[in-house]
């Protein structure tokens, strides 16, 4: 595996290898000194063209825990015009010594293009509405740690699926690992053509919530898409929000997940967001370990200086 650009095509053994590695790295993060010298001398560059503090910090934390150096490029929104600097930025960072790049961009395929131009291992940190592979990894890792395995788990992903890269990556990773996935959204927020996708769809949450082991809530996007797919926020909350009534419909052992940051009061009621049945903080912690696993796997001999 030279790059991690998409979860599509990553096989089950490859996924499980990354999850096993994540377990080891979680142990490292639990130590008094949560650091190993593995990538000493290597440089990880992060190119984040979309505002995202948490994912960038997670990658940087992962790089530093492996003793790698970090080059962090994050243009203020005012200076980024139409991606004109994407290729130049990549080549500049490579010239500065980057051995691997993490790219997040509002346009689909940005990480793919960088991987061609820079000829370095590239991790897709999220491209448009397309893929967010490390999110899928950390989510799968979290479920594996909680339930032991994903086989047979019934997962519902709720929210603006049509514009969600998290949904696209998660559904592929979860189904490859044996889970059953249902996408839940109003018709205008489901992808237009899901023929052949390894999942079901539903347009009401109430009908499916009692059968789920995992409720995965997506943030309602206002920054991606432009054309909104629902009538109003209160109506969305009424039909799809995880409120007290729906919370009581959950199975006793069902858990709640969210990629963050949460819109308290929209997709999740404020007090439920802090309930012990949510795995949200686990996801964050596991995210660093999962990203360490990815960085470790991709920094192969060909990539290192």
């Amino acid at each position: 595996m030279r790059h991690l650009l998409t979860i599509e095509g990553v096989t089950r053994p490859e996924l499980e290898d990354l999850l096993d590695l994540s377990d080891e790295f979680l142990n490292v993060l639990d130590r008094d000194i949560p650091k190993v010298p593995t990538l000493l001398g290597a440089t990880v560059a992060t190119m984040f063209f979309e505002p995202s503090t948490r994912t960038r910090l997670s990658f940087e934390r992962a790089a530093r825990a492996l003793s790698a150096d970090v080059l962090s490029f994050s243009p203020g929104t005012s200076s980024v015009t139409k991606g004109e600097s994407l290729k130049d930025t990549a080549l500049t960072l490579k010239a500065m010594g980057a051995d691997l790049m993490v790219v997040r961009h509002p346009a689909t395929g940005a990480a793919h293009r960088v991987s061609r131009w820079a000829d370095l291992p590239v991790v897709n940190g999220g491209d448009g509405a397309h893929q967010h592979p490390t999110q899928a990894l950390l989510d799968a890792f979290t479920l594996r740690r909680h339930f032991g395995k994903l086989d047979g788990l019934r997962v519902g992903i709720v929210g603006d699926i049509r514009h969600s890269r998290v949904a696209r990556s998660d559904l592929q990773a979860f189904s490859t690992l044996g889970a059953t996935v249902t996408l839940v959204a109003p018709p205008t927020l489901l992808p237009l053509d899901t023929t052949g996708w390894p999942c079901d769809t539903a347009t009401e949450l109430d009908g499916v919530i009692g059968d789920l082991d995992v409720v995965y809530l997506l943030r309602i996007q206002s920054e991606r898409g432009g054309v909104s797919g629902f009538t109003s926020l209160p109506e969305y909350v009424r039909r799809f929000g995880l409120d007290d009534r729906r919370f009581r419909l959950l199975r006793d052992d069902a858990v709640i997940m969210h990629p963050g940051p949460m819109n308290r009061g929209v997709e999740i009621a404020p007090h439920i967001a802090d309930h012990p049945r949510t795995l949200i903080l686990d996801q964050v912690r596991n995210g660093v370990a999962a990203r360490m696993a990815v960085l470790f796997r991709l920094m192969t001999p060909e990539a290192r200086r």
């Binding site: 080891e24 130590r31 000194i33 796997r297 920094m299």
Partner: protein, 179 residues
Amino acid sequence: MTAEPVMTSDDIRRAVHRIAHEIVERHHGTAGLVLVGIHTRGVPFARAIGAAIADFEGTTVPVGELDIGLYRDDLGRRSSPRLERTSIPVDITDQTAVLVDDVLFTGRTIRAALDALSDLGRAGQIELAVLVDRGHRQLPIRPDYVGKNLPTAIEQRVSVKIDEVDGHTGVWVGEGKGQ
């Protein structure tokens, strides 16, 4: 590979027992001891030493496993390895940790193991037990307990097989690059 093993399964068993006795004799008992096997084949040897000690001393010495994959100095030259478990059942602070490996060669594995162990705690003392010492050290590292000294030419290959890992047990020497 030589048709005949330079150490048979019985030879190995005797060596393990002798090493187990030596460890207990040097430390006047088993207090404060931790055996740490280095993946992959150091682990079953560590367990075998622990079992031998339990057998003749009647005490249980904790046995841990250590993967040095994150501490190698040759990651630029070998492809990304599989990481095995690192798990030591006790806190090694102030304990006597005995690293156990199957073959001692250049010493680089042991150097990595020392780094890995130090990141897990500050042991009082660290010793090294190996089944086979084949010489050609590249670092100032010496074993405390040796099963067999086996002088080899540097191009030769020493192959250790253990039943739990390989299905049969023995030590062979042959031509070609390798451990």
